[in-house]
Amino acid sequence: MSLRLYVPGDASALAMGASDVVLAIKAELARRGIEATIIRNGSRGLFWLEPLVEVETPEGRVGYGPVEPEDVPGLFEAGFLHGGAHAHRVGLVEEIPYLKKQQRLTFARCGIIDPLSLADYEAHGGLAGLRRALTLSGEAIVKEVTDSGLRGRGGAAFPTGIKWETVRKAEAAQKYIVCNADEGDSGTFADRMLMEGDPFVLIEGMAIAGLAVGATKGFVYIRSEYPHAFRQMNRAIDEARAAGLLGADILGSGRTFDMETRLGAGAYICGEETSLLESLEGRRGTIRFKPPLPALKGLFGQPTVINNLISLASVPIILDKGSAFYRDYGMGRSRGTLPFQLGGNIKHGGLIELAFGPTLREVIEEYGGGTHSGRPVRAIQVGGPLGAYWPASLMDVALDYEEFIKHDGMIGHGGIVVFDDTVDMAKQAQFAFEFCAHESCGKCTPCRIGSTRGAETVAKVRRGQDVEANLVLLRDLALTMRDGSLCALGGLTPMPVVSAIDHFPEDFDGGGPINDRPPNIPEPHRLPGSPGLAAE
């Protein structure tokens, strides 16, 4: 067996110097006259170990991380090519509890295979879902997806099968599959990891969607902040086309499906499905009124399945193993798994794919190991910039769509951002409005104007100007935006703001940043209209 080494080509691994490590390994291999193949795999999602170098041994893949180029000669001295002992040795990668305890369905291959090798993809279970789909009617494919309980992983959690059924039943000469890979939420990176680490699973998922609804053309809309993912996806599509997985005769079935990528241009709002469609068509990314639903009048006015990347990438395993297999994971109405993404001020950040149901505490403490700074957790934002800010006291809520809604939060795309006790929540609330103002498409007034007035009003509170009156004003504005905005950007921006005020009222008393104050903090005054007051 020739020596095989794995050094991730994932953007986060590159950000920690993975390519320099490859150069150092190559130089050392040449110097010692050793032949070895270096595979640029995706990341396993254990980012604190990146760059994580793996070597194939008879016992399995042994990891070393984090590796810096300067460590490489020492690794060779330690005999790492055969799994030798070294300070950075992390043992058999599959046995690392962080990874072993996960339930990797959608990310089953990510970090393991050569992302651009179709042979590797197939050897690890790839294409089985598509092969089965090719033997089924569109109706039967949709039924599998419906029965699996899969809900949209972009955040809205709409049942994927119902969306597909609407498109399937629509009569049109041309239908489209659109993948939303405009993963703009801070704290999320699952789409990016999968495009870089297992791009064929998305291609397979989109092809299955095409067969299900009768669409022959697909587009992946990728944000421009992800240049590596964009390049990798393009390479994978070229490979797939060359191998006959895409084109006029997919896998020799006589059925047609082809796809292209499109690059976003730095507009967060284009993650909203109708804005994305506008952008794909070459227009300003302003949102569309619904109805008509994109399922009936979507891209170029045609029936369109528009799904989040993780939704589409979860379809191959559902078709391969059957709906019951997938549905057996999860709790309540949240079926299957979600790749949770743990980031921010966290010791062991990464991708954690689990069936719905673990508590935030399990993810943050058991997996994450607490904050990176070593200070106490003060706030957690789940679901991106439009998600609620929660105090550490809510860490025992289960990660389940409905459980989160019960506590006025949302899971969204599964991003979990941790803040330590140095965070100023009034500043975070102001940022939420400022971000909305920066990214508003401008179509509706509550979002366009409300975001700016909101940022100004939080600034007044922070300065101690008419604090009580301005807090009343903020709550009123929040209701107007929530109920009066056309889409989730304006409609959900109040969520981080109001949750910050509710859970961290001491930061909104106009006394300046909480951590700049003397240690003996006076009793915070109660907020008018806050749930605490209403309960008395």
Partner: protein, 164 residues
């Protein structure tokens, strides 16, 4: 980034001709021009409008809607600092201060000699290794302390290599 910044009508027309048959060609065309020139020259807009049978107002509207399409060239090297929540939690403010101390400029500014632009970006998808930054398309993670110094050194090195 090696962009050829001189406006060349023939080259712009070639880009348009190359991409006009795409479904929804306007965004890819604007990206291609932005990549080639380092910005989108106003003189390109009527050419695009004419070739795609759009009004100049429509093309202007799209061009100005998206943050990526530059109205004027940036500095020769662009450092994008992530200032979204995950990086905020890890002190992206400190990184901005660090760059201000090194280059004398804040977010959205360019050094007077045109060497370096520092600008904000909202999430680079590297949230488990915050704070993050991207220079000339290369991603940097855990950009604090000595790693922030390294980013500054890389920027200075890149700038010193200009024109050689």
């Amino acid at each position: 980034m090696p962009a050829n910044r001189t406006f060349d009508e023939a080259a712009i027309k070639a880009i348009i001709a190359d991409m006009r048959s795409l479904d929804g060609p306007l965004m890819p065309i604007l990206h291609a021009i932005n990549d080639r020139l380092g910005y989108v020259d106003q003189r390109a807009l009527p050419l695009i409008a004419q070739e795609l049978n759009l009004s100049r107002a429509e093309v202007h509207g799209v061009f100005t809607f998206y943050h990526d399409f530059r109205k004027a060239p940036a500095g020769r090297h662009v450092i994008k600092v992530c200032v979204a929540e995950a990086c905020q939690s890890m002190g992206s403010d400190r990184l901005v201060d660090h760059l201000r101390a090194a280059f004398g400029i804040g977010l959205g500014e360019t050094t007077p000699d045109g060497r370096i632009t520092v600008e904000p970006i909202y999430c680079l998808g590297n949230c488990a290794l915050s704070p993050s930054a991207m220079m000339d398309g290369k991603l940097y993670g855990r950009v604090e302390g000595t790693r922030a110094d390294r980013l500054v050194r890389s920027a200075n090195l890149a700038a010193a290599g200009d024109g050689r």
